[in-house]
Each structure stands twice: as C-alpha cells, then as structure tokens.
C-alpha cells in the first residue's frame, strides 16, 4: 500500500518536527531577518521606519570606513582569546587536573566556589564584578587595607577588568567538561606510562591531552561562541567605555541599533559577528572531524 507507506515515511520525521520548527522560527528566522535588515536603512525612529529603503551593501561599506569598527573587532578578538581560549579553557583544564589530585574536601570546596559564579544569572554576576572593580569597590578596599594605591580599574584597564570578570564567570563550564573528560582517560594507560618512567608533565602532554582532545575541541567551540556573544557583562561594567576602550562587537551593535536607532547599521555589525562565529564554529567542527581515525 503505497499511500500508507508514504504516510509512514512522513510520520517517521514527526518526532523531530517540533525541534526543526523551533530552530527555524527562533534561530534561522532572526538570522535571516538581521541579514535582510542590514541591507536596508531601517531605523527605530525617523522617516525610515515607515519606508525602509533597500541600500544594498552601503551599511557594510560604512562599517569598513568606521574608525570604531577595527578597534571593536580587535577588542572582540582580545576578549575571546583572553577570556575564553586562554582564560576559561586553560584555567578550567588546570582546575580539573589539580582537583583529581587534591583531597576530596579541597576539591569539593574549590568546585563549589568556581561553580557558584557560573550559577549566578548574568546580570547578577555583572553587578558583582562591577562592585568588585569599581572605584569604591572591594578590590580597592582590599588594596587600601594593604596600603597600596587605589586605581580606577574600569577606567584605566577596562579590557583587563572585563576579561578577568568573564574568566571568573565562565571557568566553571570548562572545568566541568574537563572533569568529565579526565574521568574517561583509561587508568591503565596512565599507569603504563608511569611504569615507563614518564613524569607528571609528560603524562599530561603525551597521554591525557591526546586522549581528551575531542573534548578540548568541543569545549573550545562552546566557550568561544558563548564569549563572542557576551553583552550584559561588558555593558554593566563599562558600557563600552571609556572612549570605546571596551566596545566589543555586541556592544557596538547594541549602541548603533538601539542608542542611535540605526537598526540597519546595527544589524550589519551583528551580521559580521554571526560570520565570525560561523568561521570559528566551522574551524572547530573540522578539527573534531579530523580526529576520527
């Protein structure tokens, strides 16, 4: 019965349909909308609201001439490299390795402290970081008690402050991923290496890391994409200032679209951000695929 057969064929896809529909509506939809809007001069106010005009690649041309754009791009790379690829990733791995060697009580305490920052809602974590780094904040009070000079951290070194804040907030994720991965390293492999006289560093470099490299690639991809999109943390701590000193691409996109009401230009910045994310994602996915023997 061909009719029945066809129905069966369609029905097999029914369970995944809700997921596919949700992805199309909430992921592909906004991405396409943003791309389409970036080719117009749509605005939040003014005459272009009623009649947005098709301006082709004008917004992208403007972006290339905007002196803030290269700065913002560089700051985004610095933020992602500093806080995600180096900060969260390396610190997370180090914590996971050390926690296996530490006493259970120490390991549990450290784990709780690290995860606590991750459990906080982003806005709360952002305010906590602001309260720590601000002029009358905790850091300056501690330094003052030690007799050291106070510094306006958010003003003099805004990028360092937001990078540290993001490392503090996000390391738990990498730590949890690596703890799970390390549990999967066969004990006999490490023991055999130890028998052959490999030191702790050698075992880490030649046994552990190669075994968990799949997890490393997955973790790198996830933290990179998460960090690329960080907005609230920076907005609350520095609002992109001073003098655009911490304006990463998400902050720039927000400022253009919502502060200056230039939705076309803001979505052009957002589209560039999506492209960067896609490039990173593709690179990591390739890395993952190549590992399969």
């Amino acid at each position: 019965m061909p009719a029945n057969h066809r129905t069966w064929h369609v029905l097999r896809y029914l369970p995944v349909m809700p997921a596919v529909v949700l992805l199309l509506v909430f992921l592909a939809g906004p991405v396409l909308w943003a791309f389409q809007a970036s080719l117009t001069n749509a605005g939040l106010t003014g005459r272009h609201v009623r009649n947005p005009e098709w301006v082709g690649l004008d917004n992208y041309q403007r972006l290339l001439q905007d002196p803030v754009f290269p700065l913002s791009l560089a700051l985004t790379v610095l933020f992602v490299a500093g806080s995600a690829i180096v900060g969260q990733n390396v610190l997370g791995l180090a914590l996971a390795v050390l926690m296996r060697r530490a006493r259970p009580a120490v390991s549990a305490t450290v784990g709780t402290v690290v995860v606590a920052a991750w459990v906080l809602p982003e806005i709360v974590a952002a305010f906590a970081a602001y309260a720590f780094f601000s002029r009358d904040g905790t850091l300056n009070q501690l330094l003052g008690r030690l007799g050291l000079a106070e510094t306006d951290w958010l003003y003099t070194v805004p990028m360092a402050a937001v990078v540290l804040a993001n490392v503090w907030r996000g390391t738990a994720f990498s730590m949890l991923v690596y703890r799970a991965a390390l549990n999967g390293v066969p004990a006999e492999l490490t023991e055999a290496a130890q028998m052959d006289g490999a030191g702790a560093w050698q075992r880490l470099a030649f046994i552990t890391l190669p075994v968990i490299r799949g997890s490393i690639a997955t973790n790198l991809m996830l933290v990179t994409l998460q960090t690329l999109a960080v907005f609230t943390l920076i907005w609350v701590m520095t609002a992109g200032g001073p003098s655009n000193g911490s304006t990463t691409l998400p902050v720039l996109a927000y400022q253009e679209a919502f502060k200056f009401g230039d939705i076309g230009y803001g979505t052009a910045v957002a589209t560039v951000l999506i492209l960067i994310g896609a490039v990173f994602g593709a690179a990591y996915l390739r890395l993952l695929r190549e590992q399969r023997p």
């Binding site: 129905t7 106010t45 306006d152 001073p242």
Partner: protein, 450 residues
C-alpha cells in the same frame, strides 16, 4: 495508521483553536482598555502617582473602560529605546505615552504619533497652555502631535556655605567664563578638599553632559550646533573649540572632578545625594528640577537645601547680550497613531493633564509650569524657593535641534568633551574629530562652516 495520523492532526487543530480563543478578542462589547506607557524610576515617581489618580478619575467617569498603566523602569535613554521598540508594532504600541520633546519630530516622521489638531480645538484647556511650550509638540508639518507636561531650564546651582568659606560675596552672579574660573580657583585655594566647579562631560552622563554642560558654553559664544535657517549643522566654529578649552581648563586644574569620576554614569547621584548636602561641591550646572531630589519625599531629601543652595544664571563667554544662557527640554504626552480608541485615548490624555493633575506633577517633579493657570497657582509658586529664579530663565532659554540625526550628533559632542577632559586630544584635535564625525553622519553637504 492513517486513523492515528488524522487523530493527531485533529488534536493539533483543536489546540490551535484553543490557543486562538485565549488571545484577547476585539473589545467591541463595552469593555475597553487603554494602555498607558511611561517612565518610572526610584527617583522619579511623580508621573506614576499622577497617572494613578488620572486612572481612578477616568475609570469612574467612563464605565466599562479600563486604564492599563505600564510603567517602564529605565533611565531616559533606555526608556526611549523601549518605547520606540513597543511603538514599532501595532500589537504592542501603547495608546497614550510619555514622550521626550526632542524625540517628537523624529517619532512623528516615523508615524508613531497621532495628529491632535482637530481634537485640541474642542478642548477648552488648550488655550491655557503657554504658546512657547506648545511649540514643543509641533512637527515639521506644523501640526501638533503632543501636549507638554512641563518644561525645565538649566542654571548654576551653588552651595552658599562653600562660597562663604572662600570669602566670595553673595549672592554670586558670574558675568563671564573668566569670573567662573576666578571663583573656582579661590575656592580651590581656601578649601582644597572641595570640588570647586563641576561641569558634566563625557559619554558616561549621556545627554546630561551636553544639556547641563557643553551647550551652556557653546550657546554663550554666539555659535550654535545647528543653523536653523539653512537647516545645516555648524562645523569648524571657534566657539566650539573655545568651549572645549574651557572644559579642559576646569578639568586640568582639578577645579572639576577627576576625569575617571566624570565618566561614571552615576555621578549625578553623588552631586545631589552626597556632595552638595555635605558641602563638598562648590557649584555645578544642573536643571531646574534639582529641588525635586531634595524636597520632602525626594530621593535625596535634604531639609536645609533652601538655605544652603542658591541659583545663578550661566553667563555668556564675555558677558555679552543676553547675559545668560539656559537650555530647555521637557516631556509631553502623546497618543499612538495606531490606537483603536482615539477618542478615549485623547480623553485620558486631557484628564491626566487637567489643572489639578498638572499642578500635582509640576510641583512633585519641580517642573516649570506650561499651563498659565498652574503657573499662577500659589501652590506652584511656593513649591520650592527657586521657582522664580529658574522660571525667569525661560526668556533666554534654547532648545535642542530635534532632528532624527540629533542623537548621533549629541554622541559626537559627548565624545569630543570626553577626549578633552581625559587629555587624549587637545581642544583643536577634538573639534576637528567632531567636524569629521558630523560630516560622516549627515553628509558634507548638510554642514556649514561658521
């Protein structure tokens, strides 16, 4: 199997129907709702209480009508953004809303506001509104789209205790920029731990940096931001550079706060809540609404403000005519262009702006009255000791050029002031950066050298 599939389909269809039934139906049968959007913060609740009263009044007079109040908790910038986002779609657009005067023109261009001309003709109270204030609600086509709630002016607020300790004769009335610098230096010499004369600058304080700071300087040099006749933006003016130089002097000689502190968006809270009450600040440029923070029930209640504080007009550069500079803003109420109940919405607007409610709002938020009957009310005139001083400045006050390009131009001005006070650019460099930015924003053909 087919039976099962058709069952599933009918189930889905049924749930869609149920969901559809949940969405609010058109309020045809008596029960009508008007949505009202406005700003409310922990230091600005005056409008909220006025709307609460107006809601009661209006619902009692119109049976079956519900007024849905939707306060938006945000600062001025974010409120503007949230309101514009809500106005973009007819399904979220409020029927009546609180609108900043400098956004009226661009929001009319966007088609967000309803033309009120024919309705205002039938409203007796409209004649009681000040003619100058009515201008704020007009769009480029000459029609009126918004009704003013109140206006404000800006002046120098100074602490008499600090001035007395420095041996400066009171009442103080500076006649030039040099006078301000001389006085500030005197205060610095006599009280090193006091901030002598602060002026907002930089992007942290946003619109405050230019409204209560740079524009008082610029418009006192004879220059301006925008040439109204040719409809072009002014670049390359000596006045712009001189104004930046004045700010540079204030900040470089530590007569103002340290630059890092100036860039903190919350600095105004310290000005009102800490520095003035504790006599840690000599003077600053602030709005006529300053008493709303200090009066009983304000967010920084300070019973002694009437005795300790005083007001002086901000002088022109060399004391030239008209001798003083002030900037005005203010807010309005408007009706959404897409409203389904234009009559009810307009009637609610008139209830919220009747003599009683206008008086309550004007007094509670220390606004300058825009209704002649409110201005003549003894309750308004005695609302705070400074009503007369700040109302007098209406004769010299200026308004911002409220075009759609203005927010970006304003940001460029803020950037120029920030570059100068932090020392990253000289006034000449910052002015050149500004000129380039303006040409980039509006196009070179819409700028004029003066």
């Amino acid at each position: 199997m087919l039976r099962w599939a058709s069952k599933t389909v009918s189930l889905v269809a049924a749930s869609v129907l149920v969901l559809a039934a949940c969405t609010p139906a058109d309020p045809a049968g008596g029960n009508k709702t008007i949505k009202v959007a406005y700003q409310k913060t922990d230091s600005f609740t005056a409008l909220d209480s006025v709307f609460q009263d107006a809601k009661k009044e209006f619902e009692a007079a119109n049976q079956g009508v519900t007024v849905e109040l939707e306060p938006i908790q945000a600062n001025d910038d974010d409120y503007g953004t949230k309101l514009a986002l809500a106005l973009r779609s007819p399904s979220t657009a409020p029927d009546v809303f609180y609108e900043d005067t400098f956004k009226v023109r661009s929001d009319v261009d966007a088609g967000y506001l309803m033309n009120l001309d024919s309705r205002l003709k039938g409203w007796g109270d409209w004649d009681k509104f000040d003619a100058g204030a009515k201008e704020a609600g007009k769009a480029d086509d000459g029609g009126t789209y918004a009704v003013p709630l109140g206006t404000d002016t800006r002046a120098i607020w100074y602490n008499k205790k600090v001035f007395e300790a420095a041996g400066i004769g009171l009442p103080w009335r500076p006649s030039s920029w040099q006078d301000i610098l001389d006085t500030a230096r005197k205060i610095k010499a006599s009280q090193p731990d006091v901030i002598p004369f602060n002026m907002y600058a930089g992007k942290g304080t946003g619109e405050g940096s230019v409204m209560q700071g740079f524009y008082e300087l610029l418009y006192g040099t004879g220059s301006s931001l925008y040439d109204q006749d040719s409809k072009k933006w002014v670049v390359g003016s000596a006045g712009f550079k001189d104004s930046l130089t004045f700010l540079q002097t204030l900040y470089r000689e530590n007569l103002a706060v340290p630059p890092a502190e100036a860039l903190d968006p919350n600095i105004w809270k310290k000005v009102f809540g800490e520095w003035f009450p504790k006599a840690k600040l000599g003077a600053t440029v602030e709005g006529s609404y300053a008493p709303s923070f200090w009066q009983d029930g304000g967010s920084y209640a300070w019973p002694g403000y009437g005795q300790d504080m005083a007001v002086a007009p901000f002088p022109t550069r060399n004391g030239g005519a008209p001798g003083a500079v002030s900037m005005s803003g203010g807010w309005t109420l408007a009706v959404g262009a897409e409203t389904k109940q234009p009559d009810l919405a307009f009637n609610f607007l008139t209830t919220a702006l009747n003599a009683k409610n206008s008086l309550a709002f004007t007094v509670a938020s220390s606004q300058i009255a825009v209704r002649t009957d409110v201005a003549a009310d003894p309750g308004y005139q005695s609302a705070n000791p400074f009503v007369k001083d700040v109302s007098g400045l209406v004769s010299v006050t200026r308004y911002r050029p409220a075009t759609s390009d203005y927010p970006r131009i304003s940001a460029a001005v803020q950037e120029a002031t920030e570059a100068v006070i932090t020392g990253s650019r000289t006034p000449a460099e910052a002015a050149a950066d500004y000129d380039a930015a303006v040409a980039g924003i509006v196009g070179g053909d819409k700028t004029t050298r003066k």
